[in-house]
């Protein structure tokens, strides 16, 4: 069948009812615009909120946990090992916080193709001595370059430069901790470690993570500084943080390496399960809203096509009388529906992109999110693809029933009816 003729007739019918056609296309355009803008905005927020925690959370963290030895002697004795033994008041065995043989573990991990990067860390409990008052806190010893590369450390340093940490005896304080100590940049603060060592540290910056409680307690210094504070050798490390190329393999890899290295390993999914759930539900809601919009505009097209068919019954009857068969008439109306869908869809994608750009300009400044100045928008082409596809699918179905009705018109009934 000659599509040019079908398209020509569809075009003529649409031009004859220009206003309705435009309204239908505008409906599709509006819903696609909203769909794309909504999903872009929602997912921009999602990835920002997830990034808040997930960016800085290692995919796998290795550490030694202080806990009672699960293999108590009584359970191993010949006489009692099959009995139910109850032991009260077990104390943790004298295990070390530091990871044994850390250098070779790091070397192994770095050679693993699944691993993006490895960053060692020391968490040290300290007191900040402010006049007569001691504030408890944690000084995290980090490998500054790796921390910046893998965990976006520099994004959260709001004042000062993270590279200054490479100088010995410098510290970047959490915003909350700095406020409580009234410590300005360049001030020297005194820190007492749990072992009783007193150290003077120079404040070179503040950081703000977006989680207030975290900022009240945590501070960062270089690994060397913390090792020196604690009086430990250069091999002393309490945590090994691993970032993977694909973080979905983290649980499997954590349990595999836990046995190999004989240390504790936590994976990101177990620690932060709630974030993924939240993300999924938020995007589910935005898809639901977007698809609802599309379905509503689909009903608009359905209505307009139905009206058009009632108005054009004569035309349909004449077309059939001069030799157009049912499927030709069907195709004419499907073509009209799809044209409305395509025009509305393309404009909708365009305006959706513009709406995204506009939302991107709206100022959004909050204490909790130092790196965010405007609303975040995700321009992932996926949403445009889904929006475009759905506009075609809904308009096709909106056109399907009216087109079937039109193709079923009996020309004799119409022509005799006059």
């Amino acid at each position: 069948m000659k599509w040019t003729l079908i398209i020509e007739i569809a075009k003529a019918l649409m031009l004859a009812r220009m206003k309705q056609t435009l309204i239908a296309a505008t409906g599709v355009m509006f819903s696609i615009t909203m769909f794309v803008a909504l999903l872009g905005f929602m997912n921009g927020l999602n990835s920002m909120l997830d990034g808040l925690v997930l960016n800085r959370t290692p995919h796998i963290r290795f550490y030694n946990e202080i806990k009672p030895n699960p293999n108590q002697p009584i359970d191993q004795s010949e006489e009692f090992k099959d009995k139910l033994n109850i032991i009260r008041s077990i104390k943790p065995s004298t295990s070390r916080l530091s990871i044994h043989n850390s250098a070779s573990i790091i070397q192994n991990l770095e050679a693993d193709p699944r691993v993006l990067g490895v960053s060692p860390k020391i968490a040290a409990q300290v007191f900040f001595n402010v006049g007569t008052i001691d504030l408890t806190g944690i000084v995290n010893g980090i490998d500054v370059e790796k921390e910046a590369a893998l965990f976006a450390f520099s994004d959260y340093v709001t004042v000062g430069n993270h590279e200054d940490l490479n100088q010995i005896n410098t510290v970047i304080l959490g915003q909350g901790a700095a406020d409580r100590m009234l410590a300005d940049i360049g001030d020297v603060i005194q820190v007492t470690t749990a072992q009783g060592n007193r150290v003077q540290l120079k404040v070179v910056g503040y950081f703000q993570s977006g989680l207030g409680d975290f900022d009240n307690v945590n501070s960062y210094a270089s690994i060397n500084t913390v090792q020196k504070m604690l009086g430990e050798p250069a091999s002393y490390i309490t945590d090994i943080q691993v970032k993977l190329n694909d973080f979905t393999v983290a649980p499997a890899m954590a349990s595999e390496l836990r046995d190999i290295y004989q240390i504790d390993a936590d994976d990101i999914q177990t620690v932060n399960a709630q974030f993924e759930t939240g993300t999924q539900i938020r995007s589910m809601i935005s898809y639901a809203v977007g698809i609802t919009l599309l379905v509503v505009s689909g009903f608009g097209i359905y209505n307009i096509l139905n009206m058009m068919i009632y108005e054009k019954l004569d035309t349909i009857a004449i077309l059939k009388a001069i030799g157009f068969n049912s499927s030709d008439v069907n195709r004419i109306f499907i073509t009209i529906a799809l044209t409305i869908g395509i025009v509305g869809g393309v404009l909708g994608l365009f305006f959706g992109f513009l709406a995204g750009l506009a939302i991107d300009q709206v100022p959004f400044e909050t204490e909790a999110l130092p790196t965010i100045k405007t609303f975040p928008v995700d321009y992932n082409p996926k949403y445009y693809l889904i929006g475009g596809t759905f506009s075609l699918i809904t308009t096709y179905f909106a056109g399907f029933f009216p087109a079937r009705k039109a193709s079923g018109v009996d020309p004799v009934e119409i022509i005799r009816g006059k």
Partner: protein
Amino acid sequence: MPVLEAKNIDKFFYNPTKTQVLKKVSFGIEKGEFVSIVGKSGCGKSTLLYILSTMDTDYQGELYMDGETISGRPKNYLAHIRNAKIGFVFQFHYLLNEFSVLENVLIPGLKLGLHSRDELEHRAMEKLKFFDMQDHALKRANQLSGGQKQRVAIARALINDPVLIMGDEPTGNLDKKNSDIVLHKFREMAQQFKQTMLIVTHDPEFADGTDRTIEMEDGKVIRQ
């Protein structure tokens, strides 16, 4: 061989009660004949025409056109036959208002697709010239008067060189002057091109101008 042959056509209406509107209607039309069907309102002549036109398939009996059986053929094939072999002229439904006069004449030709668009346009202009409508070719269909529209509709019926032209009261809705023009054109087509035509009409003057008149009464052919 007759161009159109109907054998024992029966037709029933079921709404509101079963009534027989056509009773064993049989007749044939030879090539080149100009035939009119006359009869009182409700005698079934329009019903017969729609059966002959292949648009109404709900009947009993046999129908042959141009040597082929028409009865019982699939709808899409019938649509093709209407396109290629039959030209229609209706009483009210003239043209597609969304298109220009020329396009209206073109559309059945484009649908058939035997000739290129350029050639079809040329042919369409010739048909329009025959009906003295060439100056209106680019006007919209709804800018024409009733008589002009009917002439364009006849031109459209001719575009695919049909074996048969069917008309349902083609002059029924026209005033005397336009009616005369249309009648005159029909006669000219019969004489000049030996066009086979079957026209349902009320108008005795129209019927007098045809080669043969089939008269119907109460669903039966009483004279042919």
